[in-house]
């Protein structure tokens, strides 16, 4: 049974061969699979994605052979993480500081959501109009 990583609204399947769980709450993932699924690569200068590199202070905590500790990975990036090794699912969230910076920018983040018929809509398709976002619920 494969593993699932939830990252920034995406649901990413990861082959069970690429993952080990040495103890509950800990998940090691092959560096190649991590790069393929999350886009981050371990280089001498740190964890890199595109032109961005984040320095790694404690490489021993992050790397075990050819595998990367997902909890340590999240810590390097300052992102909240939840690992449920028993259920084979892990999820990465947005750091409070990144979220605060995004909100302070006042740029309305784009999203894609379905209507009842399953048709997908984005916010950006309404550029040029005054849009009201109205979040509501039955509860």
């Amino acid at each position: 049974m494969e593993y699932t990583i939830l990252d920034d609204g995406r649901t990413i399947p990861v082959s069970a061969d690429a993952v080990t769980t040495p103890e509950p709450g800990r998940l090691l993932i092959e560096a190649e699979a991590l790069e393929a699924s999350l886009g981050w690569e371990l280089k001498p200068e740190g964890l890199c994605r595109g032109d961005v590199c984040v320095p790694v202070r404690d490489r021993a905590a992050l790397v075990e052979g050819a595998r990367i500790d997902l909890g340590a990975f999240a810590e390097v990036l300052g992102r909240p993480v939840v690992i449920d090794s028993q259920e084979r699912v892990a999820a990465l969230g947005t750091a409070a500081s990144s979220q605060a910076a995004s909100m302070a920018s006042l740029d309305a983040p784009d999203f894609e959501l379905p209507d009842l018929a399953g048709r997908l809509h984005t916010l950006s398709e309404h550029r040029g109009k005054k849009a009201l976002l109205i979040a509501y619920a039955s509860w």
Partner: protein, 214 residues
């Protein structure tokens, strides 16, 4: 919902679009959407993606976005009808008039400083709560309700005042968001209006008075 649809019919030709987002399962939102005969974008956000992106902590939450895609009035707890006015003391009429003014004249948009001062602030606990909620929702959708439960529980512990999590997960966990479990939390003071202190619009209770702003 019918009010937003009516406002769309009134102002749609003037470059206005209401985007209603149900932080709900589709089956729970369906009656609301069908009753309003929505032709405006009426969307379903089961995974709470917009709650994550915009740090929405309560419903209703209304955010104004201008023609260039910038937020010009932040998280506001306002109502389209007066059904619950006895509870929240807000009249819908003055607020709807503010929207009409905004569409026609641009009035009501706030300065960047004012907006930032009224935005709810995410912290580490609230961000981790959203991740726990995402895991819980993933497991629930996959038919693993029992495995989802501890994640829901931790999400609520981490962000007890976030209604999208604490109250919004009640129907998903077999609870009743209008039942004793809600009122028990309310009594403990855990369910105060998370947004109330920040809400930028204080529409007057007297319908004869002019709409407030800022």
């Amino acid at each position: 919902m019918p009010v937003w649809q009516a406002l769309y019919e009134e102002l749609g030709s003037e470059g206005f679009v209401p985007i209603t987002i149900a932080l709900d399962r589709a089956e729970d939102a369906r009656p609301f959407i069908e009753a309003s005969k929505a032709t405006h974008p009426s969307l379903i956000d089961e995974a709470h993606r917009t709650a994550e992106l915009y740090h929405i902590v309560n419903v209703p939450t209304i955010i104004w976005i201008d023609e260039s895609g910038r937020i010009c009035r932040p998280h506001d707890s306002q109502y389209a009808t007066d059904t619950f006015t006895a509870f929240h003391k807000k009249l819908s009429g003055p607020y709807l008039d503010m929207i009409r003014d905004w569409v026609r004249t641009g009035a009501g948009a706030m300065s960047a400083e004012e907006i930032r001062a009224h935005q709810p602030i995410p912290d580490e606990a609230s961000q981790l709560a959203r991740v726990e909620r995402a895991v819980a929702w993933h497991l629930l959708q996959d038919g693993r309700a029992e495995a989802a439960e501890p994640h829901f529980e931790r999400a609520v512990e981490l962000a007890p005042k976030d209604w999208t999590i604490a109250r919004g997960s009640m129907p998903l966990r077999g609870g009743n968001p209008f039942g004793p479990e809600f009122f028990a939390l309310a009594e403990k003071g855990k369910f105060d209006y998370a947004l109330e202190a920040l809400t930028p619009t204080h529409a007057p209770e007297d319908p004869e008075a002019s709409p407030g702003s800022g």
